[in-house]
């Protein structure tokens, strides 16, 4: 080995120095293998979540109770498809094609956010997802706009703008229900009761039990810990719930003046582990639908490829 070629330790030290100086890392930079695989895992999981998330909300597009709400929901689900596309593109900068990422989703090597393993039973669930789930997503994604991997950070900036619309629209949907008929108000409260705890789980296990947090924070992939993000979200949601006139299903939820934050009750991490592990109400269904759409579309993708091959500009085809 030539003397001027830096050794692995030197490269790793140089890399860490760039990270510590808040340098945005780009695909052409030297990146440790473990950094690449951690970032890829996170972006792919994020992309899959955007796409799988289209299912529970898409469940209500055909039944939306007004044309205005139908248009808002349709536009939202379309945004999520767009988020999936940006994120798959960001993941592909790490050299793994979308087709391969989808294969990893289907065979269980990669996951999506467990929140989408819960069913949307009523129209109010569309509002609860917008307000709580998109609200939690923004809390997480705002922090990620400063993540160390450039393509991921840029995707987050673009996505955050749209997510804040989604949250406002979800809030506004629940607002209308909470001020509507008794049946509508009950529907809204029931949805919030069911989505509150799973939303708090979206931030991941407590820091003490989060296997990847330390390394992820050191490399500034994650900028803010699970517990701190969860606290930020709770502090934001509590006054909004009060404005809606809806209650949050946690008897221990109260303002703690000493901490300057809301205290909240214990999260059922056993349920979290169970649902992440595949035993949630909709895990099988979400994957079945995604796989079926992919398989049913195979002949369409094959036709597009065959047509492109036949009609490629002859000049562009190497002799």
């Amino acid at each position: 080995m030539a003397q001027e070629a830096p050794g692995e330790d030197q490269r790793a030290a140089g890399f860490q120095a760039l990270v510590d100086a808040d340098h945005r890392l780009e695909p052409r930079d030297w990146l440790p293998d473990r950094y690449r695989s951690m970032v890829l895992r996170q972006i792919a999981q994020h992309a899959h979540s955007e796409v799988i998330g289209m299912q529970p909300e898409g469940n209500w597009i055909t039944r939306a109770p007004s044309l205005r709400r139908k248009a808002i929901l349709l536009a939202k689900v379309q945004d999520e498809a767009g988020h999936g596309l940006y994120l798959y593109a960001a993941a592909e900068t790490l050299g793994v094609a979308r087709e391969e990422l989808v294969a990893r989703l289907h065979d269980g090597r990669q996951k999506y956010s467990s929140i989408f393993n819960y069913p949307t039973r009523t129209w109010a669930d569309v509002g609860a997802i917008g307000w709580l789930v998109d609200g939690a997503a923004i809390t997480n994604q705002l922090a990620l706009t400063r993540t160390s991997y450039g393509p991921y950070a840029r995707a987050m900036v673009r996505i955050c703008r749209e997510e804040s619309f989604h949250q406002r629209q979800g809030f506004e949907l629940l607002w209308a229900l909470a001020r509507g008929t008794e049946a509508q108000r009950r529907m809204a409260q029931d949805a919030v009761d069911r989505w509150w705890w799973p939303t708090l789980m979206m931030f991941g296990p407590p820091d003490a039990r989060s296997p990847h947090t330390a390394q992820s924070m050191a490399w500034r992939i994650k900028r803010v810990s699970n517990d701190e993000l969860r606290q930020r979200f709770v502090d934001m949601a509590v006054p909004q719930a009060a404005a809606l006139g809806l209650t949050l299903p946690d008897p221990e939820l109260r303002w703690n003046a000493d901490r300057g934050h809301h205290d909240f009750g214990p999260i059922d991490w056993e349920e979290f582990q169970r649902v992440v592990g595949g035993d949630g109400p909709c895990n099988a269904e979400r994957l079945r639908v995604h796989r079926a759409a992919h398989d049913d579309g195979a002949w369409v993708r094959a036709a597009a490829a065959a047509f492109a091959a036949k009609h490629r500009d002859p000049v562009a085809v190497p002799a």
Partner: protein, 259 residues
């Protein structure tokens, strides 16, 4: 403003006419939303949702216009959610089930070819609201047509399987084409007043446009096995009732509620 476009003269006809165009857009938008999260690619999910959003926007304008022309205080939701299938006056083509991706694209291509010609002509309407709807709608329809015609070319001239599926879709949907150009007394009165488009006159341009795409798609124009008729006067295939049951159920379950 001419007498024919004044609030009283021809108001019932203008309401009926706007409902026809509005119901076409609403029912097809509803069908397209059924694809959400089920399309062959993520790009196509996005495109189908985009087309559905445009059509839904057109439907909302047209139903609002129809309600205003009628003057009975019915808004877009009253018209969308509280009419039964016998009161919907969309073409039977747009209520046909999605089928496979080829059937959805052939349906979209046939409809957008027709709708683009209709909206282009509607720009010259003596009614300023309908003219504005034509202006905006023609641009949207041109994009939808582009997208669908590209798929018909790709699928027709793609693989053996895609060719077979597209041919079958064309055969199944062709009987619904003639209805677009049938015309009737309502349309004739509004055409005479310079308000509506003479649908019958659009047929030659439709045929020319369709034939050009078919040739590139290596497909040919089929014989219609039967002729669908009656959508404009509320006679529908069995499919519309199911589509409306799903669309209207929640709204009707809470009479008087706001959303």
């Amino acid at each position: 403003m001419t007498a024919a476009t004044g609030p009283a003269v021809g108001a019932a006809d203008r309401c009926a006419y706007a409902l026809r165009l509005g119901d076409d857009a609403l029912v097809l938008a509803q069908r397209l939303t059924e694809w959400s999260a089920h399309a062959p690619t993520l790009e196509e999910d996005l495109a189908l949702e985009n087309i559905a959003l445009d059509l839904l926007g057109q439907a909302r304008h047209l139903l609002t216009y129809a309600g205003a022309a009628e003057g009975q205080g019915r808004d877009e939701d009253r018209l969308a959610y509280w009419r039964d299938d016998g009161e919907f006056c969309n073409l039977q083509l747009v209520e046909q089930p999605n089928g496979d991706f080829a059937a959805t694209m052939v349906r979209q291509w046939l409809f957008s070819t027709y709708q683009r010609l209709l909206y282009l002509a509607l720009r010259a309407s003596a009614d300023p609201d309908l003219s504005a709807i034509g202006e905006r709608g023609a641009k949207e329809a041109a994009y939808h047509l582009d997208h669908a015609a590209n798929w018909v070319r790709r699928l027709g001239d793609g693989t053996e399987e895609s060719h077979r599926r597209t041919e079958a879709a064309l055969l199944g949907l062709w009987p619904f084409v003639a209805e677009m150009f049938s015309g009737d007394a309502v349309e004739a009165r509004l055409v005479a007043a310079g308000v509506a488009v003479d649908g019958r006159a659009l047929r030659p341009a439709f045929d020319a446009a369709v034939d050009a795409v078919l040739a590139e798609a290596t497909l040919s124009r089929p014989e219609a096995a039967f002729t669908a008729r009656g959508g404009r006067s509320g006679h529908h295939t069995e499919h519309l009732g199911h589509l409306l049951a799903e669309m209207q159920h929640l709204h009707r379950s809470h009479p008087g509620a706001s959303w």
